[in-house]
Symmetry: C3
Subunit: 273 residues, 3 copies
């Protein structure tokens, strides 16, 4: 199933509109290209509706939001909704400031998202107001473990039902759910958290996967999460003793570039709950 | 000829002012450094005229334009014209939105460019309003091939005459013309299109080459286009089976860093039409 | 001493708020992660005070300043002062435009900095108005050599006394002083100047080191400067004949990722004056 989803990305080469932060934007663009899709970044209010109309998917990331780009996010999201384009939300650092929390809430109120992807602290903040956000990384107190997996799946499912979106919580164990079915994905490597923007890159990748598989957003989001984790595993194998987080960053994008549908099909580690 | 042009860049080390997008700006800066020149990025309307006056070349790229930076592009372009500094325009994604199209036209109306560099869809849009822009990449329908090379050279020459600028259309076959002579350059590798911003990097490189060779903008632009393609070839040779687009990106910049005048002279593949 | 300082960074993992330029921001984030700290980038006036309060250090870099972000720098700096958080200033390109010079002066007037780090031209401009700024790189005329080391140490000390900040002048020979003691550091490699943003990365690293060692800002800043230089040496050793400035950039971040307290203790080359 995940293999066929990746194959659709390579065949359809969807054009993805990204309104994203200036920290990890280059990696997001190269990640979208690596998977076989095509990125365009545009964030001015005067053009975002037009740009989104040209594309087949939209990725909204609030990593370095400002008053100018918040309006653009709302315009583009609404236009994508009118056109029935899939829209991904990455609520980077929500809970770290009122501006982020209010913006994420406003986006969720005014735009119908196809997928909301964040770390556990971000999703907890949005779902229940209780996340312990420590900047842009999940707080240790919120960490998903085998021990607390069931209540977190329940939280993710409830938030998916509430928002009508597929919810993806990523971390050591990833949870992707549409409110009924939950994929628990165990791909990835701990060292991924020492690279800036693996989450942002995954959100961009998710937008590409969902845009190429519009009838199956749950499976497409789960495939993207699994592919990113698998790329982290493959890239980790490749590290030499001198390679650190900068080389690892490149190797993960490289791994997505070379990832075959068969490799993803075989390497995906997940169960359904 | 191209060798001597590169040598001038290494000797003169021109300072290049870039008003460019936030997606590929880091690669543009490292590319300018790789060729032996020095980059400065500054886009606030209050300082661009002063910054441009310090430099010997200006590179304007509309990749993530917004109302604030559009004014800065106009200010800087006009100041560079007053000072007789070469100015390069990279009309990224022109045709994809009215804002991009109107901004590019306004820039072309109010600033005298030395070089306009874009893909075929972008240049067609500017020259005749007929480009089939698909985001920031050239549309398949517009592709330059051996079969349609002559009419596209004619279009490029006519646009060069109209704008008074050297026009560079880059893709599988590159065309660089001042309206009289056209260089058809066959350096490069198809995999370059799987990296974000090879076009942006080339525009920054072109600004450096033209700034160091102000009396020969046609040859300098052609040399930059050829150097970038040659770097793509050299970097491709270096790829291991695990290297993908992220490593390739680094290797291309590395190849420009090590490119010698002799290598460029020998490796440049072009004919004149 | 420097070893213990690095160890504190790895143990405390301070969260560092960066208001920085969009050219080198990704490298700054990966550098902060490489040393064991955690970065957050946020530059909207509505959220910077809150974000800074969450963090334990602030890094202000004026590399691509604009009217919107200048206000944010002032808000964040003042808030950090109220909270007694260390604040680093990187006055990129000060002297290259009135906007940069006035902004740097305004920041120095209204915010108490813990460390001011720049190249010799930038610090000369701030200290005496006499720097010969050539864009964002130090001018050749200003270069620190064994011959002019004493007067430059005197200038750095006087500026440290005047600002109440540790002053770090980095280049071939680095000077770090609190006005009484000056560390002269001879780590590093000339090729570092062919990478964009090694200075920016060092400022971000310095913020992490100072945040983890708040009682010893002079030693922490000197340790960061030495660590960055040592990483440049280690990374240079690793270069293959095809590696250029892009690979070197990655290797330096990788070297910080792997740098041990023992390595830093042993590899640091400095004297006190």
């Amino acid at each position: 199933m995940f293999g066929a989803i990746l194959e659709n990305v390579r065949i359809k080469r969807p054009l993805i509109h990204n309104i994203t932060n200036y920290v990890t934007v280059n990696d997001c663009a190269n990640m979208v290209l690596a998977c076989g899709a095509s990125p365009i970044m545009a964030d001015d209010a005067e053009e975002v509706a037009e740009i989104t109309a040209l594309c087949s998917g939209l990725n909204i990331n609030i990593g370095t939001l400002n008053s100018r780009t918040i309006s653009s996010m709302l315009f583009a999201g609404k236009r994508a909704n009118e056109l029935n384009h899939p829209v991904v939300l990455d609520p980077v650092g929500v809970g770290a400031s009122s501006l982020r929390t209010e913006t994420a809430r406003k986006l969720l109120d005014e735009v119908q998202f196809t997928v909301v992807r964040g770390n556990i602290s971000e999703i907890k903040t949005l779902a229940s107001g209780s996340g312990t956000t420590k900047g842009v990384d999940a707080a240790a107190a919120d960490k998903v473990t085998e021990g607390n997996l069931d209540p977190i799946i329940a939280l993710a499912k409830a938030f998916a039902v509430k928002t009508g979106a597929v919810v993806a919580i990523t971390g050591a164990i990833d949870i992707v759910t549409d409110g009924k079915t939950a994929y628990c994905i165990r791909n990835g490597h701990a060292m991924m958290s020492s690279i800036t923007g693996t989450g942002c890159q995954l959100s961009a990748l998710t937008a590409a996967f969902v845009a190429a598989n519009p009838a199956a957003p749950l499976e497409a989001a789960a495939a993207a999460v699994s592919a990113m984790g698998l790329a982290g595993e493959i890239a980790y194998q490749r590290l030499t003793p001198l390679d650190g987080n900068a080389s690892y960053r490149n190797y993960i994008i490289d791994a997505i570039y070379h990832l075959t549908p068969e490799q993803l099909e075989k390497g995906a580690k997940y169960e359904m709950r």
